[in-house]
Amino acid sequence: MRRFYFVARGVAWRSVHNTIANPAILLPSLIFPLFFLAAFAGGLSRIADVPNFHYAPGYTAFQFAFVFLQSAAFGGVFTGFSIARDFDSGFARRLLVSAPQRSGIIAGYALGALGRWLITAVVITVAALIAGMDVLGGGIELVGLVGLGITMNLVAALWACGVAMFLRTEQAGALIQMPVFVVLFLAPVYVPLSLLTGWIHAVARYNPATVALEAARGLIAGSPVKLALAFVLLLAGAAIMSLFARRGLASAERAG
């Protein structure tokens, strides 16, 4: 256990340090959710005028919930890029040889993803508040919101870690980020689920990201909905993705 912690701490520190030390890596993960918040909350605010759209905190908060969770997921995705790069540069192979407890590598990258996202989460929350976002939820609800973000980040980081370790090339970037993007966008991003029609409504209804998104919006509105279900689904996702990441690590070990 001590060796696991030792490896995880080292990998996590390196991941966070590289992120902070390299603006070309840090800035996109900060600016991207800010732009999304601006684009959705600003450009599509007219959508809130559509009949039967009701969300008490307003359209900015409605979109903040999405961007918050999306940034959490992309904190994991960006870490996947770093892992792929470590393989391309040969660092990951040296890490595999030197780490006394290799599963600590996955934990380290996951912790690095969390550290990376926490920076982003603070920035976008401050930006949304400056932009006049109304938050009707109290302290407990906001803790729940952060908890949702952390578990979302963990699921995405483990997914990204698995893909990066299976493919071991930076070209895996598209494959890492696109499924995450698609799953998130198959949730009710622009309007509530009740206003979606056709096939998108059917898909969004059964999309786990919808539950997480509705729970996040409920927390911001101060009236939690589907919170337990959201955590159960996200934790189940994390469990499945940890197995996937472990298999990715085994694949990398076999490749040498």
Binding site: N22, A38, R46, D49, V50, R85, F185, V189, W199
Partner: protein, 280 residues
């Protein structure tokens, strides 16, 4: 050596000391690099499928999710799917940028670029050749997007001729973005940095008239941003061919910005290439 465009020839029968290397022409240099770029791009089929399919998935999602936008007074009298079809062409161009940039960055990181710098290869040939694979991908993507759009019931208001112009414009746009990808690769030298820019490039699509016509955007600041965002005009140029017909102003702006994008990114990439070769 013929595959690299270099030829060794014996000057007379004087033996090893008389062997000279002939520098290949610029066309040969571009051809050799472009051939490698195209082959490498298409060898990564699994990684090509997602960039091709992803814009179509978003087209399907947004085409349905934003159907409610048609209830906004003043929205064009077309289905939201018709209105949204222009967007995949731009998103596809962004993927071309990332593919081109990542490939070039990988060459830099792996040291292949350094080895090329030791050959008589010109920087301009290296740049143009590297973009060859990107242009081929752009052609395939544009044909697929147009085909899927038509198959899903979207009508091209400008007809067959308009579809050809649409293809030409979308390929030109992709070429411009590929130059941007090359610039990022040369500037930062890592694939991670290039891929990290993807979301930023993607956001330029969202900060444009991609989701709503500019005159229907409610927030003043957003309407201003969309008006100054060149991507709006790229989208509107393509969109005009789909939902309006032949709109000279929209096409002039679309082609004008696409040409400007290509000229600016290629010229900056050329300068970055020179700097990197000097450093090498």
């Amino acid at each position: 050596m013929s595959s690299s465009g270099l030829t060794a020839r014996a000057a007379g029968a004087g033996g090893p000391a008389s062997i000279a290397l002939a520098t290949p022409s610029l066309v040969e240099q571009v051809g050799a690099i472009a051939r490698r770029s195209v082959i490498r791009t298409f060898r990564q089929r699994a990684l090509l499928v997602f960039p091709l399919v992803f814009p179509l998935i978003l087209f399907a999602i947004n085409g349905s999710s934003l159907t409610a936008a048609r209830k906004i007074p003043g929205f064009p009298d077309v289905s939201y799917r018709d209105f949204a079809l222009a967007v995949p062409f731009i998103q596809g161009a962004l993927f071309v940028a990332i593919t081109a940039g990542t490939d070039l960055a990988r060459d830099i990181e792996s040291g292949f670029f350094d080895r090329l710098a030791l050959t008589p290869l010109r920087g301009s040939a290296l740049l143009a050749g590297q973009l060859g694979g990107a242009v081929v991908v752009a052609c395939v993507q544009s044909l697929v997007y147009l085909g899927v759009g038509i198959a899903s019931g979207v009508g091209i208001a400008s007809g067959f001729g308009g579809a050809l112009v649409l293809l030409a414009l979308s390929i030109l746009i992709a070429f411009g973005f590929a130059g941007l990808g090359a610039l990022l690769a040369l500037r930062f030298g890592t694939g991670e940095a290039v891929q990290g820019f993807f979301p930023l490039l993607f956001v330029t699509v969202f900060l444009s008239s991609s989701s709503l016509p500019r005159n229907l955007i409610k927030a003043d600041w957003f309407r201003e941003v969309a008006t100054y965002n060149p991507v709006s005009y790229l989208i509107e140029g393509i969109r005009s061919l789909i939902i309006t017909g032949w709109d000279g102003q929209a096409l002039a702006l679309g082609f004008g910005f696409a040409l400007a994008l290509s000229a600016i990114t290629l010229s900056l990439a050329g300068t970055a290439m020179k700097n990197r070769l000097v450093r090498t």
